[in-house]
């Protein structure tokens, strides 16, 4: 009786695609998906045929209007300025808080709870109380941005401080370095990488809360424009501003990521 032995199937190995090919493929698929989403949107809008669901082209027309008229530039500048000011405050407050948290267990326990609270207060609460305490104007959004960002910065700074190698500190001692030298050349550089990480994650959280605060109580800025559009039932405007907002913020988040990679090239091999 003959036995059929089947040789194991040798499957032809898939050709390993070059990174450039991969990038093109990824881009193509992504664009194709976006295009189909747009088409689906257009169909739904056509079927509903009401201002409440504007057609994609209408929204894009509004986007172009907003950018061309300079409204985009001025409102985004205002919003980003507020966020920036808030972050500057957050770093100024977060650095010493983080140092305290990183150096001592007592301070760590003492400050952990307030940091947790600041980071988890619902956006609505921030927005309403900013309005109540600071009224309409830029101060509310700035303080809110700072409050949301501080915990991210402080906690990351604390981690940075804790990460400073005891061995390095002993080396500084052996060479009789002054505390100022140790602060400047050991702690600050070690911590700055962590600060940037804190800024990145803090930004991702803070700009959403800041936008909400602007919706409630501002006289300019992207959040204010969205509220205005909502009150005037201009859904196309709402969507246009939202689109611009999301794109700008994603670009900034990406930019911060690049910055982190560049500034901290020395970490390459350590990572």
């Amino acid at each position: 009786m003959s036995t059929n032995t089947v040789a194991p199937q040798v499957r032809p190995t898939r050709q390993t695609s070059t990174p450039r090919n991969q990038r093109t493929v990824r881009w193509l698929i992504s664009v194709a998906t976006l295009a189909s989403v747009l088409v689906a949107w257009a169909v739904v809008a056509a079927v509903i045929d009401d201002n409440i669901v504007p057609r994609p082209l209408e929204v894009f027309a509004r986007v172009i209007d907003i950018v061309a008229s300079g409204e985009a530039a001025s409102n985004f500048t205002t919003t980003l300025a507020k966020i920036g000011a808030g972050f500057a405050l957050a770093v100024v407050a977060g650095l010493p808080l983080g140092f305290l948290m990183g150096r001592g267990a007592f301070m760590n326990s003492y400050l952990s709870l307030p940091m947790f609270v600041l980071g988890n207060v619902p956006g609505l609460t921030y927005a309403v109380f900013a309005l109540v305490i600071f009224g309409v104007g830029p101060l509310g959004p700035v303080v809110v941005s700072a409050s949301v960002a501080v915990p991210f910065i402080a906690i990351n700074v604390a981690e940075g401080v804790r990460s400073v190698d005891g061995d390095l500190l002993r080396m500084c001692e052996a060479f009789e370095r002054s505390p100022r030298d140790v602060l400047r050349h050991v702690y600050l550089p070690a911590v700055s990488a962590f600060v940037l990480v804190g800024v990145r994650y803090g930004f991702a959280m803070a700009w959403k809360v800041e936008a909400l605060t602007e919706v409630f109580g501002a006289q300019s800025g992207v959040g204010f424009m969205i509220r205005k559009a909502y009150q005037e039932f201009q859904v196309d405007d709402m969507l246009a501003w939202t689109m611009l907002f999301v794109i700008v913020m994603i670009l900034i988040e990406r930019g911060l990521g690049h910055l982190e990679r560049r500034l901290f090239a020395w970490r390459k091999e350590l990572a």
């Binding site: 002993r170 052996a174 009789e176 050349h185 550089p189 090239a265």
Partner: protein, 246 residues
């Protein structure tokens, strides 16, 4: 002229349960002038502790330590087992970080970097160098301070044999060029014979077991028959000490 005077030095550790361990037990040692002195001993003999106390990064329980250069306190350079370079600073900046005298330090730093053969990586970050290269930078850093006293804690123990041999040559070369007082801790007896003028042998429990004077001419090659002979002799004495400790 620099001198290290250690008088009746003791060090006792207390652990969690109140037990005491005597790590150093009445060390009397004087090192003066441009001597290269090695401290050897089996593990548990307290040699690293001794070095740390001399460097001032550990406290002692009794006795005294004095490092002087003439009538002032001696300037100390330290080389650790691992490089301990600031990872976010370049090689050159690392050398600059430990300088006390700022005038003309760059020239000094480059000179010593050159002596260890690393002048060409002055602008690189530590993460871009190999382990051996980083350790060489550590040595250059200690020398660039132009210390009165140089303390070295098993600086080659974490490197492979070939790199260590290489670095020993570099070390001897620099030392011959700019002689200073060196206190060198090692567990490798043959290394001690190759490098030192005097070998201090510590016994477990932290006492000085004996002192051996090494009278060979420099520079020394590990392949020299005289060096090899003395190494064999000292090794034999060391082995009996280790067996007694076990």
């Amino acid at each position: 002229m620099a001198s290290i005077v250690i008088d009746g030095l003791t060090k006792t550790y207390h652990d969690n349960r109140g037990n005491q361990t005597r790590v150093l037990d009445g060390i009397d040692l004087t090192i003066s002038g441009e001597q290269f002195v090695s401290i050897v001993g089996p593990s548990g003999s307290g040699k690293s502790t001794l070095l740390n106390i001399v460097a001032g990064i550990e406290s002692h329980s009794g006795g005294s330590v004095a490092l002087t250069e003439g009538d002032r306190k001696a300037k100390v350079g330290y080389v650790f087992q691992d490089p301990r370079l600031l990872p976010w600073r370049t090689v050159m900046q690392n050398l600059g970080f430990v300088q006390r005298e700022r005038s003309g330090w760059e020239k000094r730093a480059l000179h010593y970097l050159d002596l260890v053969g690393l002048a060409h990586v002055a602008d690189r970050f530590p993460s871009q160098l190999s382990g051996g290269q980083q350790q060489r930078v550590g040595i250059a850093r200690a020398f660039a301070v132009e210390p009165d006293v140089l303390l070295m804690d098993e600086p080659f123990s974490h490197l492979d044999a070939m790199t260590s041999r290489n670095l020993r040559e570099h070390l001897e070369r620099i030392w011959l060029e700019s002689r200073r007082t060196v206190m060198f801790v090692t567990h490798d007896v043959t290394e001690a014979v190759q490098l030192s003028d005097r070998i201090v042998v510590l016994a477990p429990g932290g006492r000085i077991h004996e002192t051996i004077d090494v009278d060979l001419s420099r520079p020394r090659r590990a392949s020299d028959p005289d060096v090899a002979l003395l190494q064999a002799e000292v090794l034999a004495r060391f082995e009996t000490l280790e067996k007694a400790a076990a």
